[in-house]
Symmetry: C2
Subunit: 259 residues, 2 copies
DNA sequence: CGATGATTTGACACCCCTCAAACAAAGTGG
DNA sequence: CCACTTTGTTTGAGGGGTGTCAAATCATCG
């Protein structure tokens, strides 16, 4: 695996991609609170570098004490823990607009790894810049807290899925979740999005074996709920899929609170 | 179920229990950061009422917008979600010293329920008092953030357990986790603590059926790892249990960070 | 002493895992 | 351009972990 701290990579894409990050990150954060032009400018300015990271690279090592925050601009990444027996469990998927906040440094070291699953375009924000951002822009601070709480809420929903739903419904539920989250940043329609993960990644997310993952996916195809070809996922019957998966998007908190 | 908002309950125990909460809550929060005498006094003063709540009472309804924070002083409570089919999945256990922070109100409504599992003594802290506490006492604010991050980290560890560990190791892991967390607030020795939950509560926590829960527990007893009688859990061989469960307490972040 | 809730045990079915192997696609080097 | 490797996908067979159904036992309590 290649770490993104490789100096040959750093900063290579500054300028060219300058506008891309704010777009997708802002789309996400503005689900939490309206941001002013000043907030947006500060956010864009806080990004130190854009980096292109190959698939399956480690962004944050388990037991690291990271000094940089990351925002995913393009591609899929994940939080994971690796067991002694080599089994990997993915504990969260990071989509474009999601961020990894080294606020975790309060804890005295990351207790999980962060890695890319596909090639990613990543915006790096230094911890000090992030702290300043929070102090000087309360609306951004609020939005970041919202993001953290939403992550926790999503983790709880995954616990519910792993604890109570059979593999098929679990996959269906994940498909619904990704549709909602990707649509929130403009990367999915009601019925279609790009899902560039391998069966193995999905299996490690759903807590099932690769073999069973394949069978479960076929079942969803055979029952006419989805089509999945060339990494493009098409939902054939959204309403029926949501019922089947027992999906209720409330836990994603994608609609801005009244306050 | 009886809600604690019942006026006959409110405030009944003020004074008598006045010192109990700070003790256990402070023991927990001081794992995050040292607190000054001023912080402690402010924390104690912020508690509006102590309430005795019977077992199986709902503290926060799913879809509520709670205006009160709770700190558990005695007893066990939980976060949970209930599926359409009636299956309950417990997503977090709240032990003495743990708190439920209505900070979740940023999200515009709770997305899960909070309920007592045993009879509990609960300290209620109004949302405004909590906000003031955070503003005027940065060390408390930091400690509360630490608590939130630790909860998220624990949720991730539960995902790992549900996704990768068989039921027996999952139970063993939970036993280790509870030992560490209870010891941190003075309610467990290295080998012994009170675990006042029913098999059903534990089954709903581990994501297995009540019947299987029973078998798995017997297995741990038969292999000489634990004794569990009269709600008292005794760990016969802590080292062997931790190896069996693949338990690494790092995710609990119970040792204060250097910073 | 009957009612209720908690624990225990047995039988059987099914979900899902493991092992194994075949197959496809994409890169790599000769 | 073709062997060859690597990575990802698909399929089959068999076994084990768990769920469900059913019923017995036990404890607590009014």
């Amino acid at each position: 695996m290649i770490g993104i701290s490789d100096p040959r990579m750093a900063g290579r894409f500054m300028g060219a991609q300058d506008g891309a990050m704010p777009s997708v990150l802002l789309m996400r954060l503005e689900h939490a609170a309206a941001l002013g032009p000043c907030d947006r400018a500060a956010l864009a300015a806080a990004v130190s570098t854009f980096e292109r990271v190959p698939a399956r690279s480690v962004l944050v090592q388990e037991a690291d004490r990271p000094r940089t925050g990351y925002a995913i601009v393009e591609g899929f990444a994940c939080h994971y823990r690796q067991g002694r027996d080599g089994k990997r469990q993915i504990t969260a998927l990071l989509l474009p607009g999601d961020l990894y906040d080294p606020q975790a440094s309060i804890l005295g070291g990351a207790d999980y790894g962060v890695a890319t699953l596909t090639g990613c375009l990543v915006a790096a924000i230094g911890a000090p810049a992030l702290e300043r951002l929070k102090l000087e822009h309360p609306r951004i601070a609020r939005a970041l807290t919202w993001a953290l709480l939403t992550e926790a809420s999503t983790a709880r929903e995954w616990i519910v899925g792993l604890g109570t739903r059979p593999a098929g419904k679990r996959f269906a539920h994940l498909i619904c979740e990704l549709q909602a989250r990707l649509q929130a940043v403009g990367l999915a329609s009601e019925t279609r999005y790009r899902l560039p993960l391998t069966w193995e990644d999905l299996a490690d997310t759903l807590g099932i074996s690769l073999v069973h993952m394949n069978r479960v996916a076929q079942e969803l195809r055979d029952t006419g709920l989805i089509i999945f070809r060339d990494k493009i996922l098409t939902i054939e019957d959204p309403a029926r899929l949501r019922v089947f998966a027992d999906f209720n998007p409330a836990y994603l908190h994608l609609t801005p609170p009244a306050a």
